[in-house]
Symmetry: C2
Subunit: 318 residues, 2 copies
Amino acid sequence: MAQNEFAIIQQYFADVGKPGDNTVLAIGDDAAVVEVPPGFQQVVSMDTLIEGAHFTLDTNPEDIAHKALAVNLSDLAAMAAAPNWFLMSLSLPEVDEQWLQRFSTGLKHTAERYSVQLIGGDTCRSKLSISIQIAGLVPSGQYVSRAGASPGDLVLVSGLLGNAGLGLASRQGRVELPEGLRLRCLQALDRPQPRLELVAFLRSFASAAIDISDGLQGDLAHILKASQCGATLDRSSLPVDPWIVQQDLYHYALAAGDDYEICCTVPPQYRAEIDAWNQQHEDCRLTIIGEITSSGFYLKVGDDQIDLASKGGYRHFD
Amino acid sequence: MAQNEFAIIQQYFADVGKPGDNTVLAIGDDAAVVEVPPGFQQVVSMDTLIEGAHFTLDTNPEDIAHKALAVNLSDLAAMAAAPNWFLMSLSLPEVDEQWLQRFSTGLKHTAERYSVQLIGGDTCRSKLSISIQIAGLVPSGQYVSRAGASPGDLVLVSGLLGNAGLGLASRQGRVELPEGLRLRCLQALDRPQPRLELVAFLRSFASAAIDISDGLQGDLAHILKASQCGATLDRSSLPVDPWIVQQDLYHYALAAGDDYEICCTVPPQYRAEIDAWNQQHEDCRLTIIGEITSSGFYLKVGDDQIDLASKGGYRHFD
């Protein structure tokens, strides 16, 4: 794609996101040049979406662009970092101008909404895949990692769990959903919303955090491993659509992925701050789903306890 | 690859390159955390190598790893930045432990040699491709971009031009090379050496720089466009293997790519510094190949002048 690479970048990607104060040199040289202001650390992450594995060719180009950027923004949210800039490597099987126009529109929309600028990258000709490397800023020492949870901390999740997994199952014909729910679930799958509104809350109150990309069970296990502790969750507390309760399909909430909600742990003395958050953030409520313990990983179901630490403790999704 | 992803990262990629002073948190969380010391700017770039387009499946895994990192290091060299850290997104068609072991060994070797640490990334299952995002540091304001060349500046290139292109042509059976030259050309193709030794020279003396990935003609044209000036080169000055002169195969030096040498422009008052450099750097000599002019892009061949600005001005390689 050497011949067209520069033209493609100029036409579709030279103007994605507003220039930030920290960008010295953006697209158009061997590399971009950025500043990190005194007193800040930079948080960097990289995630790739590949046709076949993460989306199908008939997915809206706008949605592909949104999701490729959103899953990276979600990693920043989980570290309590504010988005700054990103680089993108785009592989395309052919130069389809209509597809590029729609992909570029979707990318611009999401980049502007979350105040992040595309400052470089490359394009090549291959199977469709989008690799994005993102960088954010956090006041020095205020990032939130997976290590830091202590026994007694509350376990919280944002939003609803399981809808993205249901959306995928519905699209693949593995489940039949009521029409309204089906649309909400496809929306959750195709247009995940990175929870950047939580950044300030996490910096102030969270002891550990992760974004839920592989399912609550697996992702919380990463926090437990990094923090060297355990947890007990209460199934009846899980924030799920009522239909999941009715149909007893909790495994979508526990072991399906793609929710991109934030799971975090918060010391119990901040209960009032959690309540205050929820009163002010109807669209990004935090639900207490359990507690950090010294060891073990359990789910309370009525009077029973399921061992989530044993492999396949909860019914695995795939 | 969700099941094996964490194991693969832990086994093969947790320990690539030595931790730098500026790395706060490396592999193992949602994102890595880095510092940029006061008085420095960060230079960031991203390049992808894809099987089929950039290498074949029978290429040594060590060489693939080296080249994937080297082409990114070369972008830093062209900006006069010192390497700091990198992220990698690795797509694999299957989990081949022997291949991974060799790839990892090659990556570690090159990362240590150039003092750069792998601090994060992801793996997924797809056609083999390696996307690397690299970051380096430069004292604030001392980066060298493509814009900055002025009429009268000397045009320089490092090393030899055309050998990588000859190596590819030889491997594809398009040219027959003498055995010694064939080995050197394959080495140039598979093991390009990023010219990081030039970083200090470029900061002190260069007005513009670029690394030669697409061929001298095309890449110097980027400098001319960004600097709004022209150039006249002298074909007899091009640093090439004597065989290229004998066979009149200069197009490999002008229009083949993959050399990863540095092309830079230097004001003429620094001729003595160029000579001093060459006396001390036998392995990375700088050759003066022409001069920046106010407009036009020409190659002197004896008493003739070839117009390099017209499309296909020199015989195109592919």
